[in-house]
């Protein structure tokens, strides 16, 4: 695959054999070789110097492992079209769990053929196989391309493969060969006790999996959606309104599924599979379980409109899938006689729409916190994910003027202050270059920092409510107590009253 990556990129293929080199233990060794180089008996792991000695005309490129991993991930995304169970195997393999999916593609042989053709068309060399267990399929794919082993016949299918197909570590493979065990059948012929004693339990597990005797489930790359619906198109589609229409009809089928189970979607994802192998996914979340196709379609339209780089259909999408990644129980609500049940629903829909357009971190609600530090007393949390809270807002004292400002500066701003007495309220202060004369002041309200939360002790703050001559009200504080915590404490503006 690494050589395929380079050859796909270069328009004019070089006719020299291509090898990728990597530095290992201070020596340049071959990392991957292309078909031509392989025919000249160059193998990965060989020293670059000896490769050059064997083949004079050799084009050598530095290996780029992250790029390879990225490419493999792209192919894996593309393979999502066949089954949601896709996992990456090593640096150049993919495992697909196609249980129950093969009939959609016309049976196992047809599906294997289709996968191979599609990936070859994208410019890759592919080897594939189907078997009852992942390990058996892996061994067959790498050493016996295009084999299909029905469940129960894995042992026979892998019998003649070399021991390297077991995916053991190099030392163990080498040791097996030295012991004269060249094929899997020969290894399987030994008693398990012997093998465990020599190679450990892990090796025996791997052998059993390859023989189809036990199975280790593959872990999929993505969270499996709770529900999904998809449209496959015979001809790739490009037209925007066609895509929008398709999302609406997918939403209808998805909502039908959700309704059967009495659930509503909280997290939705639309995946667009381009015919040339690119996959773009767009996810959105909702504030409450949702089961209305029109609203789902509308939210996706908002989301698509708001994308800074719109998804590029290229030569068209041949598969669009809508999945509910997370669903929750949707309780049918009972409606009181005079209440307006639509209000909450309307607001939840508005929150979803705004979140789809601007991002869920921008639409916020406030929640009380159990602290008396002014800036921490109420936090803004994304409205879609606001957790239930048992705390209440601190009740105001009747008859008392506001003790907290309406607006608080994100960062208190230092001011220059003239005060009559060190501990008293300021007489005049200068904030943002304007001088304010204090007409009246109220305070101090002494707020100590929470020493049980901070490692470093922080100074106590003395807050003053201050009104200047124009009637504007400010919330100032002195950071630290005179004489005890600081010799010259600084003053800050923290907030503005209404």
């Amino acid at each position: 695959m690494p050589t395929d990556r380079l050859q796909r990129r270069c328009a004019s293929p070089d006719d020299r054999p291509l090898v990728l080199s990597i530095k290992s233990n201070n020596a340049r060794i071959l990392y991957a070789v292309d078909r031509k180089a392989a025919q000249l008996h160059l193998t990965p792991g060989m020293a670059l110097a000896s490769a050059r000695a064997m083949v004079r005309e050799l084009s050598v490129v530095e290996a780029d492992e992250p790029a390879d991993a990225k490419l493999l991930a792209t192919i894996a995304d593309w393979c999502d079209r066949y089954t949601p169970f896709v996992s990456i195997d090593g640096v150049d393999g993919l495992l697909l769990d196609v249980t129950g999916a093969t009939h959609l593609f016309g049976g196992e042989p047809a599906m294997l053929q289709a996968v191979c053709t599609a990936i070859t068309r994208q410019g890759f060399t592919v080897r594939a196989a189907i078997a009852g267990t992942a390990a058996a399929a892996r061994a067959l794919a790498r050493y016996a391309h295009a084999t299909i082993a029905a469940p129960g016949t894995e042992a026979k299918a892998v019998a003649l493969l070399p021991v390297a197909a077991l995916n053991l570590d190099t030392a163990d493979t080498h040791a097996l060969r030295r012991a004269g065990l060249k094929t899997i059948a020969q290894v399987a012929g030994r008693t398990r006790g012997e093998l465990t004693a020599r190679f450990g339990k892990e090796m025996v597990f791997k052998l059993d999996r390859a023989l189809g005797l036990s199975e280790k489930p593959i872990s999929p790359r993505h969270i499996l959606p709770d529900y999904m619906a998809e449209h496959r198109f015979a001809e790739p589609v490009v037209a925007e309104d066609f895509i929008a229409g398709s999302i609406l009809s997918l939403a209808q089928s998805l909502c039908h599924l959700l309704e059967e189970r009495g659930q509503g979607a909280r997290k939705l994802e639309a995946s667009f599979f381009r015919s040339d192998g690119q996959v773009s996914c767009i996810a959105l979340e909702t504030a409450r379980p949702l089961r209305e196709p029109k609203i789902i379609a509308r939210l996706f339209r908002e989301r698509l409109d708001a994308l800074s780089d719109p998804i590029d259909p290229g030569f068209g999408f041949d598969l669009i899938r809508l999945s509910a990644l997370h669903a929750e129980r949707l309780v049918p609500e009972s409606v009181g006689l005079e209440a307006r049940p639509d209000d909450d629903k309307e607001i939840a829909f508005l929150i979803d729409r705004l979140a789809a357009r601007f991002g869920s971190h921008r639409i916020l609600t406030f929640q009380p916190q159990d602290t008396h530090i002014p800036e921490g007393a109420g936090v803004a949390v994304p409205a879609q994910h606001a957790p239930e809270t048992k705390l209440d807002w601190e009740p105001r004292i009747p008859g008392e003027a506001p003790r907290r400002p309406l607006r608080m500066l994100t960062k208190p701003e230092p001011i220059e202050v003239m005060a009559q007495i060190p501990d008293g309220p300021p007489l005049r202060f200068r904030w943002r270059r304007a001088l304010h004369a204090v007409a009246r002041a109220e305070g101090p309200e002494r707020i100590a920092m929470e020493w049980w939360k901070n490692q470093k002790p922080q100074p106590t703050r003395d807050y003053f409510r201050v009104e200047d001559e124009g009637g504007r009200r400010f919330w100032l504080y002195r950071d630290g107590l005179y004489g005890r915590e600081h010799f010259a404490p600084r003053w800050y503006v923290h907030g503005l009253f209404a």
Binding site: I347, L354, R357, I363, T365, P368, A380, P402, R404, R407
Partner: protein, 180 residues
């Protein structure tokens, strides 16, 4: 109530804080806040919000005089507000007066408290500069945090009827300008 704040004005004038609302007698649980990256997003969001009749009011804060907020944009806001009967307040900060389609325009500034020793309720000086449906005027009023109304700041007759009820302008859009 939905309050739309631009990122810029949050930096310049500070973020609205829930404790402050609670102190003014407004339940912060009824408050939704949207932080918009720029004036364009803020306008777009407010049009969206005005189509939702579950909201009591939409407050849109616009700092300065952005180009996107022209007569057409403000007319669109008025129509949207009238259609769904949602009150909309457009708060202009640090702006130069310019024509708008709003029903009323207020200039609000803080006013000095009474010359007593105790720290009183906040007072405002409000000038109704423009009113499409009636007279203009000038009032000094005091926000009474306990019952959520503006009162005439008159010490002797503090309980004598109120001048302007909160949200007195019903479903109409009002452009308010905070001076200073």
């Amino acid at each position: 109530m939905l309050w739309i704040v631009q990122d810029f004005s949050a930096l310049e004038y500070g973020m609205p804080v829930p404790t402050g609302f609670a102190e003014l007698g407004i339940d912060p649980a009824h408050l939704l806040m949207l932080r918009a990256a720029n004036a364009e997003d803020a306008l777009r969001a407010s049009i969206d919000a005005l189509s939702c009749y579950g909201l009591g009011a939409v407050i849109l804060e616009i700092a300065g005089n952005p180009k996107v907020l022209d007569l057409v944009a403000s007319r669109r806001l008025v129509l949207a507000a009238q259609h769904k009967n949602v009150t909309m307040f457009l708060l202009r900060q640090g702006a130069v007066a310019e024509p708008s389609a709003a029903q009323t325009r207020w200039q609000v500034r803080s006013h000095r408290s009474a010359a007593t020793d105790d720290w009183g309720m906040p007072r405002f000086e409000a000038e109704l500069v423009r009113n499409r449906q009636g007279e203009t005027g000038h009032w000094v009023m005091e926000w009474s945090c306990d019952d959520g109304v503006f009162r005439k700041p008159d010490n002797q007759a503090a309980h004598s009827g109120f001048v302007v009820r909160a949200h007195a302008d019903g479903s109409l859009a009002a452009a308010m300008r905070i001076a200073g």
